[in-house]
Amino acid sequence: MITFQNVTKTYKGTTVALRDCTVDIDKGEFVFLVGPSGSGKTTFIRLLLREEVPDSGRIWEAGREIGQLSKWRIPYLRRNIGCVFQDFQLLPNKSVFENVAFALEVIGRPKHVIATQVPQVLDLVGLTKKSENLPGELSGGEQQRVAVARAFVNRPLILLADEPTGNLDPKTSLGIMRLLDRINRTGTTVVVATHDAGMVDQMRRRVIELDRGTLVRDQARGVYGVDSAVAVAGAGSPTGSLTEEAPGPAVDDLEFIAQQRRLGA
């Protein structure tokens, strides 16, 4: 689904954001992109959104090489990609429903499609009752759910999340991660850039670590860092807390583990 081949990106010719990065992400995978600030995570996401083009190397996404994409095709690429940010980026003067519907309106979807798909996705994120509220009337976690709903309403092939839990407390973050996990189970490829170590350790998904633009680790069922890897190893069941603490619809634990095994982790 996503392939980076020797991708290098520098800003103003001197700051190296990504150096010779080669990585393959299959359809349906859930990947954490970790590393300290300035390690190149956001550049990775921006390259996938085609907000930046690499200095060298090639990127394939959803079967297309996106470096070759002409400018007018970029919007059509982005319709296959949902994106969630740390600061939610909701429109403050539109209701929850309108915020999600906006994503379909501006790509010219007809009204009846909007009328069926928006309630569906609001149900998925558990915000059916708040669909007429304004973003300002919601908690941070709820706002991020709206953002996820907006990113997912068009059923993208790929969902990108740049620090989706950066503004949220651990418990709320967990809810968002569970939501991303559910979306992943529909077959959507999910890439989450984060430095939320606890979350990464609990989820035990593939981890790609960047350090000053260089890919230093690519580990299936990984943890955030070397230190936490030791800690988690000592703590016994790594996935336990995810289901114990989380409110709302339960993640199917068996299915979760089964999937891990299928991935050969």
């Binding site: 007018w72 919007p75 982005r78 990609i81 980026q89 429109l91 403050p92 790509i107 010219g108 907006r150």
Partner: protein, 296 residues
């Protein structure tokens, strides 16, 4: 992807309303500058109908007797060409003069005549226009010459004044049109800034570039159209207000306004030009703003 006209109109008008003070300023500037353009065009057309025989430096007209023989006509021509006071001469046949008379003279005067009643003519430019009286004396009474007419000093003065006025109007109008474009550009820049969140979300979810641009372009277009509509009203007000629509009659031949009178078609032409320039200013202003400030 088709962009719905309803969507574009809705977005554009809501933008205009949100930013109405700047919008009014832009529309008024467009209106004032286009009213000046329109007045300059009216003035030019009026001057043209009033002084059509004296255009392009014609100072003297030698009317050839309708009954003059070919030889006489030829003689008049060669004398004119040899005259040291005369710079150039153009021959106009009877058909031309008949058509011109139909255009310039009151209808009831022309109705009783036909083409063969009209003289052909030589339209001459002199090296020195003030020597026209000498040429008149020279040629009056020559065989084949019906009469000699020359451009009076007042007509020359009037032409000059109108010419200068026209240029003043047009250059003021150009400056105002430039500032109108800048004002439109600025209103759209503010609109883009006010909606930067929407724009970034639209880009993120894959709205096409034209889908994002069109409402802003439409906004400029609407300002241009409203401005030029006001200017058209001013032009029409001038046309009826000062009586440029008065038909020429034998009675009012002496009046300058009546001499400058023009048909409704000519005014319609002026209005169309004013409208097109207004639309152009709106589109250019908004296109610049969209190119410069909307990064799509």
């Amino acid at each position: 992807m088709p962009v719905s006209a309803g969507y574009v109109a809705r977005e554009a008008t809501s933008n205009l309303w949100r930013n109405r003070l700047m919008t009014v300023a832009a529309i008024l500037t467009v209106a004032v500058s286009l009213a000046l353009v329109g007045s300059a065009l009216l003035l030019k057309q009026g001057a043209t109908t009033a002084t059509v025989r004296w255009q392009q430096g014609v100072n003297v007209i030698v009317w050839v007797d309708p009954g003059a023989s070919g030889v006489q006509n030829q003689a008049v021509h060669s004398q004119l060409m040899q005259d040291p006071l005369v710079k150039t001469c153009t021959y106009r046949n009877q058909a031309y003069d008949y058509a011109e008379a139909k255009r310039l003279l009151p209808a009831q005067e022309v109705a009783a005549t036909q083409q063969s009643d009209y003289p052909s003519s030589y339209r001459c430019a002199l090296f020195n226009p003030s020597e026209a009286t000498v040429v008149k004396q020279e040629f009056t009474g020559k065989p084949g010459v019906n009469s000699v007419e020359f451009q009076a000093a007042q007509i020359r003065t009037m032409q000059n004044v109108i010419h200068i006025l026209q240029w003043v109007f047009l250059s003021v109008a150009v400056v105002l049109l430039l500032s109108a474009s800048v004002l439109i550009l600025n209103t759209i820049r503010i609109a883009i800034f006010a909606r930067r969140r929407e724009v970034s979300v639209m880009k993120l979810v894959g709205a096409t570039n034209w889908f994002i641009r069109l409402p802003f372009m439409a906004e400029g277009l609407i300002q241009g159209i409203i401005g030029s509509a006001v200017a058209v009203l001013v032009v029409l007000g001038l046309y009826w207000g000062i009586g440029l629509n008065t038909a020429k009659t034998v009675a009012n031949q002496g009046s300058l306004i009546a001499q400058m009178s023009m048909s409704g078609w000519e005014v319609a032409g002026t209005c169309i030009v004013v409208g097109l320039v207004g639309i152009g200013v709106g589109v250019v202003g908004s296109a610049f703003a969209v190119r410069r400030f909307l990064d799509v």
